[in-house]
């Protein structure tokens, strides 16, 4: 093949996109549809719990349009990082939705799944080949066992294996954002530099256009570079909008590491072909001496309970920092006296929304607020303790005066009951890579069975 056209309909499966833009991409000769289903951006909860951030109905709505388009055009559909975090449960969740749509619509599609979840015992045997990424330190082996889920981020190779085995639809576990779009053109033998750069640019769908809300993009990769255009005829890619996407959610805008090597775009040129199409050339891919797979793991740190009250009284708001300092001190005293708990038994964060809740000590504006929402977030080893602390703090959140008030105010609780149990909370515990001899060894490809076709 001299060219491969990648249709990227949207940055996140389940976010929604105009149906007409996918039809437009098919008209323009798309060879493959690639869409990302995941992210770590919303925090460790989704990996830790193995659940999705997106609603099943929203994922189904997007998949229905994409599966129909793929079946009619007879081109593959690749979904990466299924179920937000790419756990095995996430792959199975998306596979279940696909199965229902396939049956309801009578679509003749062979579906492959690629699982990326890792077992601590297996990784323990590789401990000498696991290296930290900055700012993480050396891996303490028990951390592996403490994770509720660990996934490896696949490159394009396991996805290519599924395509070569005849899959029409590939539902992948955790994959690099770029691998999803890179897999098909890599299989077709196009050059790695333009492929990986194009894959990075299309990973968020329309984010690289002047109107990201107008739907996705089509990237045409050839031997000298790639051309990118929006799927909405009224939208535009400009050299600036395309080049600027290399900045998005990256530490370094010039290089990006993939399992098989590094994308280098420092010499890339961006040229407008017309008012809405951009030509990119000069992108390179430098193969790594050692193939590495990035690991993501999440573990439970404890349980949280939240209370929320609010202040409108200008007298208290005039000395809100004094009031908050008194609140922190009183909570510690009351919890110690009532529950017998001390430092180390629980923690809490008191956040003053409307004053400095978001930036705290780095907030540049110290002016008096008009109203403040007071969030008490309690963290403990078990839910019962967290809730008990929040309940002990409740009378303070209702009635605490400032030191110069000689009466008890009644503050404005937002809900009844005041306490909301948040359940287990998680942290990302791994920021490491493992050296592998084969790019597919950590992943399990389940090919379509005969009756699937």
């Amino acid at each position: 093949m001299n060219e491969v056209r990648i249709l990227a309909p949207v940055g996140m499966l389940g976010a929604g996109f105009p149906a007409a833009t996918v039809a437009r991409g098919i008209e323009l000769g798309a060879d493959v549809i690639a869409v990302d289903g995941g992210s770590t951006d919303s925090g460790p909860y989704y990996l830790g719990s193995g659940t999705a951030k997106t609603a099943a109905a929203a994922v189904a709505a997007d998949l229905r349009l994409l599966l129909r388009a793929a079946a009619e055009a007879r081109i593959p559909l690749i979904v990466g990082s299924c179920g937000t975090s790419g756990t095995d449960s996430g792959v199975d969740w998306v596979a279940g939705i696909v199965r229902e749509i396939r049956a309801a619509e009578g679509l003749n599609l062979r579906v492959a799944t690629v699982y990326s979840e890792q077992q601590p015992a297996v990784l323990r045997q590789q401990i000498g080949r696991i290296r930290p990424l900055p700012p993480a330190g050396e891996l303490d082996p028990p951390v592996l066992d403490s994770c509720t889920h660990i996934v490896g981020m696949m490159g394009h190779e396991p996805i290519v294996a599924a395509l070569e085995a005849g899959a029409d639809v590939v539902l992948a576990g955790r994959a690099t954002d770029t691998a999803i779009a890179a897999a098909y053109p890599m299989m077709k033998g196009l050059p790695a530099g333009p492929i990986w750069h194009a894959a990075k640019i299309v990973e968020c769908g329309g984010q690289c256009t002047t109107n990201p809300r107008a739907g996705g993009v089509l990237a045409t990769i050839d031997h000298d570079g790639f051309t990118i255009e929006p799927l909405d005829p009224d939208n535009a890619c400009t050299p600036t909008s395309v080049a600027a996407h290399m900045l998005y959610e990256t530490v370094n805008p010039f290089t990006m590491r993939e399992p098989a090597g590094t994308i280098v775009v420092s010499d890339a040129t961006y040229r407008a072909l017309d008012h809405r199409r951009v030509r990119v050339e000069g992108s390179r891919f430098e193969p790594a001496e050692q193939h590495t797979i990035k690991l993501e793991g999440a573990r439970i740190t404890g349980y949280e309970t939240m209370s929320f009250t609010a202040i409108r009284d200008p007298h208290i708001l005039g000395q809100i920092d004094t009031w908050a300092a008194l609140m922190r001190k009183m909570i510690g005293e009351w919890v110690g006296r009532t529950l017998g708990l001390g430092d180390g038994d629980y923690e809490f964060d008191l956040r003053l929304y409307g004053h400095n809740a978001i930036l705290d000590e780095i907030e540049p504006d110290r002016g008096p607020p008009r109203e403040v929402g007071v969030m008490l977030l309690v963290h403990a080893a078990d839910q019962r303790t967290a809730t008990a602390v929040a309940k002990v703090a409740n009378p303070l959140l209702l009635h605490l005066p400032t030191p110069d008030m000689d009466y008890l105010p009644s503050l404005a609780f937002a809900t009844s009951p005041a306490e909301t149990e948040r359940g287990p909370v998680y942290e990302f515990a791994l920021h490491h890579v493992v050296e592998v001899d084969s790019p597919t060894s950590l992943f399990r490809v389940t090919l379509p069975e005969a009756e699937d076709a």
């Binding site: 770590t40 951006d41 919303s42 925090g43 460790p44 909860y45 990424l133 900055p134 700012p135 993480a136 600036t240 080049a243 600027a244 900045l247 998005y248 959610e249 990256t250 530490v251 370094n252 805008p253 010039f254 993501e296 740190t301 949280e304 923690e347 809490f348 964060d349 956040r351 809740a357 978001i358 930036l359 705290d360 000590e361 780095i362 907030e363 540049p364 504006d365 110290r366 977030l377 963290h379 909370v425 998680y426 942290e427 990302f428 920021h431």
Partner: protein, 113 residues
């Protein structure tokens, strides 16, 4: 436009976001080459300034200056673990504000002036 007083006054957009779970990154998209020249000047904006604004160690801060886009990009390890009890900005999407409001001439602008 009144006299520009902060970086935001010279910028099209100032934004911040996670770059993976362990890094924060920010971009100053400046309106033109003149604005870019101001913020790209290491005598005005450097790791020491960022360290002071964000309470992070200067040695961990990476600054990229991209004249072709009139962009200065700044990355540093997330000071608070994502999703932890003390993380009040899960996506790090509001952390651009201290940088956006950084005075253009720190010595001549005092709070409330």
């Amino acid at each position: 436009m009144p006299d520009p007083r902060t970086i935001a006054d010279l910028a099209l957009e100032v934004r911040s976001k996670n770059a993976g779970p362990f890094w924060v990154t920010m971009e100053l998209f400046m309106r033109d080459a003149d604005g870019y020249a101001v913020v790209a000047d290491p005598g005005y904006l450097d790791a020491a300034v960022i360290a002071r604004l964000y309470g992070v160690p200067a040695g961990t801060i990476q600054i990229f200056r991209i004249p072709s886009l009139n962009v200065v990009k700044i990355s540093f390890p997330r000071p608070v673990p994502q999703g932890s009890l003390r993380d009040r900005d899960i996506h790090a999407g509001q952390h651009h504000v201290p940088l956006a409001l950084y005075p253009l001439a720190p010595q001549s602008v005092s709070p409330g002036s």
